[in-house]
Amino acid sequence: MSTSQITPDVVSAHQLSPAEYQKILSLLGREPSLTELGIFSVMWSEHCSYKSTRIHLKKLPTESPLVLQGPGENAGIIDIGDGVAIAFKIESHNHPSFIEPFQGAATGVGGILRDIFTMGARPIAVMDSIRFGRLDDPDTGARNRRILEGVVSGIAHYGNCFGVPTVGGECVFEKSHEGNPLVNVFALGVFKHNEVFYGKATGIGNPVIYVGAKTGRDGIHGASMASAEFTEESKQKRPNVQVGDPFMEKLLLEACLEAMKTGAIVGIQDMGAAGLTSSTCEMGSRAGTGVEIDLAQVPQREPGMTPYEMMLSESQERMLLVAEKGREQEVLSVFKKWGLDATEIGVVTNDGMLRVKQHGVVFAEIPNRALADEAPRYNRPFSKPLRTAPVTGPAIASKDLTADLKALLSSGDLCSKRWIWEQYDYQVRTNTLAGPGAEAAIVRIKDTNTSVAMALDGNGRYCALDPRQGTKLIVAECCRNLSTVGALPVATTNNLNFGNPERPEIMAQIVESIEGLAEACKFFEVPVTGGNVSLYNETLGTPILPTPVVGIVGTLPTDIPVPLRFPRAGLTVLLIGGLGTPELAEMGGTQYAKVIQDSLWGTPPKLDMAYEKRVQATIRELVRAKAVDSAHDVGEGGLAVALAECSFGKENIGVHIRLDSELPPEMLLFHEGPSRILVATKNPANVLARARINSVQAAAIGVTLEARVTIRNGNDILIDSAIADLKSLWAHALEHLLHNPVLV
């Protein structure tokens, strides 16, 4: 074994602490080689090891009768009946997307798709949660716009070519993302129960096969880059970002699914973060076996690569699989049909070691468990969440409520995102019953009577004010979105985006948020089956708003979905759940505070989870009984924004609302209290009766009519506008922000 000078500087350059290095010395009983140090550095990085969060993630509920596979595998698996299952997960590609937006986002899509089909599932839906700095910021706006355009075209490039529909997501603009955008990608796949594959290297003597793209020098140390704060030097890390090839990935998908059908594959795992390293040691560790590979056999893009570079390369579109000895040819011939490189590079051994050789020389020899399971775990100190926002805010005194509504509808967060999602193929595979812009995305599962609905949501503002409460509200919102289309929420995935966990106030946000997630997921019976943690989201010491992103899936019978928009005039509009009882402080986290006041203060809205659950049951029952003609939850922007959104259909049907409330008009129109859903129906008695049975408030508040949106409270007209005036602002705001940002 080559001995290297492992100086403290070399250790620190690998982002390993002195204590972590001591642990390596004691696990190995000797000094590591440079290759071994590199291997430890990626496997023990925050990105791969979850070392700061693992002890807290244990608090999450992970089981239900429907969960076939919980956290720890490439993706969680849920039973949806008829012998069919879905696999789904979310992953972040935040850091690469800042350094190189197009490729960073594209390879983010590629990575999560591999996580899904490596389990044997065919990907049938993708959603994205993306966050950028403000497009109209005088200093950073131009860069923020460039990052947005790059990320969107990167997602489009990869997903469209691969042939998976991008069916929904969210896009939010916050000052704190100008140096640190968030790109979280969710993917969902479908398969039969007996088609599930795991990343396990079982069967001593079985061949280890490398499939897909050749290994190059790209992406070396991507995982450790994703575990560090951004500095001015980060821009020089551009070569660390990988380049994606969606065509190669499409071939890999088809070839892997076909090869799995031969029955000759024992285990399979994609080469994601830390490439060859993570796939070999994790597959060995899960099976309790060793894996020995010969790097000379690995297909290489360029000559002269060192073992260090090959083990740390993050070249995309590569898979590692273990085949049954003697049946290699069956597997190899499938890959040959698809024109892919497939090479035997090693063997499963009985000694539990990851052994890396090149031309007969051993370059690394590490127990698999040391890498995958013995990674350090930290109970990092945490304070009470540090409150930076004031308790009280500017006086709420609107002069013109209709003008406020227009400002909200043309704000980055609330405006139509059509400019983004029309760049995505949201229909390929012809399963999309409800796509982008809908209450929740719905894809049918062919050959069954079941469809899957999915919602993806985050709210950095709520979480900045109270990470625990904010996270619970996000879970409630996702479940409400699903229930509003008639789906029963069944399981959760999550992407925790936070700053530097070594700072106690950030660690406090993480702990509070995870505990809020645990509490809400338990209550709403949506166990967490997997997810991702992205920390060190800071630039020059400024952290992002704490942003847990939650993705929840639900099931419903396949049918034409209930629309969000009012379909025709003359229907009664009801508000299920009631107007809410907000306190003034609850206005501080709203979009009203953000857009009209340019401020963040107070508290997130209150949430009564038991009541919320009853509201959700009510709407689910009504939608399934076809008792409503449209349904939309009241979310960000409050009641007025929700009513406007209901009026933006092709049919040009608006609403005349009459309220009778003591609340100040700004709060009445724009507070964001949860547990509220708007429906339109010709038979309001059904809705009222169903609400009464479930002990939920409901009241008829208006009627649909053509062309106008009017909201009255008592004798006061609060809002009055032609739909066309509101809609044109809402529809074109994003393009306006992108192309004429100064004229907001």
């Binding site: 075209s153 969606p246 190669m248 499409k250 029309e422 049918d559």
Partner: protein, 250 residues
Amino acid sequence: MKIGIVVFPGSNCDHDAWYAVSQNMHQQAEFIWHETASLTNVDAIILPGGFAYGDYLRCGAIAKFSPVMSAVKRFAADGGLALGVCNGFQVLTECGLLPGALVRNANLKFVCRPVELEVATCNSPFTHEAKMGQRLTIPVAHGEGCYIADEKTLDELQAEDRITLKYLDNPNGSLRNIAGILNEQRNVMGMMPHPERVADPLMGGTDGLTILQSLVHAATASQMSQMGTERSVPCGVGLGQRNPSPFARA
């Protein structure tokens, strides 16, 4: 009657076309691998959407060299019906079965949206079940769907009644709003919109069936007349050089 659906590495609407034909329309359909050198067993061909061979060089530029495209050319020369959708249209122009070319959308961005089309001729095996001027709403999903050709070719297409579908709200900058065209013999059509995506009420519409049913019925008629049986079909069509085409040039 059987419809063959060509599968290139990188095709990704192949399964959608198969589903529309076999599950929504209850007709036989089978996949044809790109290495297939002859088409013996099928009555019509669909070249589906996707990114054949990755389309990194130019859409369809590699596909035109595939063995299956030589077979498709012979099939078409023999009067066989071939419908190219999206990437399939691009492949048909690359290999010279249709004139003109498809280039980057005018705004340089991929676009996925339902578009309104006008049926510009019913005199074709792909549109004979439509009414002249009928409006169809069918989605597009492409980055390179802007149809271009020189003026002479465009004039010819128009004069020979070979423009089948026109955009009413042009999403990509196509010249003369062209969404679909025929070859001279009228047995090959390329179109950028995806009829297979609106062949099921669940998918929000069934306008695509107008195109697909025209194709299926024309192919059935062609098969019947080859077998020497007389059969009345919509428009009373039989097909191909194998049989004199009722969709002859005006």
